[in-house]
Symmetry: C2
Subunit: 306 residues, 2 copies
């Protein structure tokens, strides 16, 4: 197990969120006693938390705006699990029934495609949706999920979100959201895990990452995003009914289209060329000048713009 270090402030911020998730309002005195922190230590922690969470201090209490407290939502038709700290929401979802959503405030071992680093710090939306889907539907998720996310950012927040193939959501080159899709056959049925990470009110540490907060200039109540996603994920089949339309939507949002790229393969080697499209199920089509080559996201480690 990779040994990650957490600072004690993060631990106490999570403990504060845990207390607030139960009650929304907590007396500072009580909280200081609960956590075994001195008043000035607690007040420094709360002060910092305001940068990533919609909390405020009123009289001698801390208040967490209900709309930013993901423990407060009960998405209809879903089994919903809220955690403050987990290894990964993907792992929590394993073993849960289908139609489960797992949301965490902090993931210690979060990962991206091909196990790439993805930091899930305080204030973001880190969620896994577990769905029972037929194979013929599931194959279109790599197109549908980034389209859904782009629509969310464009329509609800007026943000010019685009797709970097295969499924990063970017704004002006900065990664705003990441997606990971995994499948599992159990009792002859396919269960799909859709992991979504969105830099909402957190301060992303990775280079080339950007938060919604920095784009819109203020904190966003995260439940708006979670409610939207739970609604859309519940009817994701609708999104893929018309493959041709989905493909067109995806291409319309694909900033990668027309770009000259280097395709770094998981097996050694790289191919360079111009992106001329994607297939119905999201394979990248690259014109090398000599031939047209298709790449599945499972064989590509990274796509670099040239």
């Amino acid at each position: 197990m990779e040994q990650k270090l957490l600072d004690s402030k993060t631990i106490f911020k999570l403990r504060v969120l845990e207390e607030l998730s139960k009650r929304e309002v907590v007396e500072l005195d009580e909280l200081s006693r609960e956590l075994g922190l001195q008043a000035d230590e607690l007040s420094a922690i709360i002060g910092e938390m305001k940068e990533n969470h919609l909390i405020r201090v009123e009289d001698s209490s801390v208040v967490w705006l209900a709309g930013d407290n993901p423990s407060r939502i009960k998405p209809w038709g879903w089994s919903y699990v809220y955690k403050t700290i987990v290894g990964s929401t993907m792992h929590v979802a394993k073993g849960l029934p289908s139609w489960s959503i797992v949301v965490a405030e902090y993931q210690v071992h979060s990962y991206g495609r091909h196990g790439k680093e993805w930091i899930s710090d305080l204030g973001g939306v880190w969620a896994t949706f577990k769905l029972p889907l037929e194979d013929r539907i599931a194959q279109y998720l790599p197109l549908a999920i980034p389209v859904v996310l782009c629509e969310l950012f464009r329509e609800r927040f007026g943000v010019d979100a685009k797709i970097k193939w295969p499924n990063d959501v970017v704004v002006k080159g900065g990664k705003l959201a990441g997606i990971i899709i995994e499948g599992e056959f159990y009792k002859n049925r396919l269960h799909v895990y859709v992991g979504i990470g969105i830099n909402v009110n957190n301060d992303p540490k990775l280079e080339k990452a950007v938060s919604l907060k920095s784009i819109v200039g203020k904190l966003t109540p995260r439940n708006r995003i979670l409610s939207y996603l739970s609604g859309v994920m519940g009817r994701i089949e609708k999104y893929v009914e018309n493959h041709k339309k989905l493909q067109a939507q995806y291409l319309g949002l694909l900033e990668t289209l027309g770009r000259r790229v280097a395709v770094l393969l998981l097996r050694d080697g790289a191919v360079t060329g111009k992106v001329i499209g994607v297939t119905e199920t999201g394979d990248l089509v690259v014109d090398t000048g000599v031939e047209k080559v298709k790449f599945s996201s499972t064989e590509v480690y990274e796509l670099k713009y040239l």
Copy 2:
């Protein structure tokens, strides 16, 4: 606030203890899902936990021996608070009613006399007892508490525990337990906080620290210690009734007696000489060769053997 780093393993060990403290037995599958860890990650964590806690794996469950699980005791006459992680048990006790005991698995900001470093890692006994005491009783605690601890180690564990002035409990020069005593007047009444830290099953990181585990060669169920202490602390007045006897007991256990020492003072300066005794309330008496000087523990930063 001092920024301490914790490793993610410690965090997950604490989460495991939290789950076990509620139920004593937990299915590994369930735990792995609860924490969002893969089976092999969880199994590595449980494996390490066995070094500091009396837990075992049976079939596909983790079991915590009730006697090592401090959440399981309900000391008679006390209000009892068990926490997995706190800043300090002393701070948790502030604001709680008198006759409270606070026990934590891990303290982030634990401190010793004069704010000295004291590491409270996994497997130790970290507790604060809050007592209402009259001043005339409280003044003898600096003698009574180390005597009580030495009796515990000598009688229950056959360990040759001694006192290093003012109130460290040592075995062959290694620090086995530390004590911190603080008082607070509230509504004209004195409330005393007795903080006790014992290296039981933990692996102390500080040089010159030693654990009961390393002395007796096995793990000790910590509730034996906590039950003993809650019993004794409830009738601590009995221990100080006969001041002369208490003073004699303390002197009999004081390894510092007769030693040549350097007394480092909190205000600049140091005094060297031979320890020839302590007063009834625990002040150190040193013969400098020229005169006999008394030192209160509040003015001494450190006592060094020469």
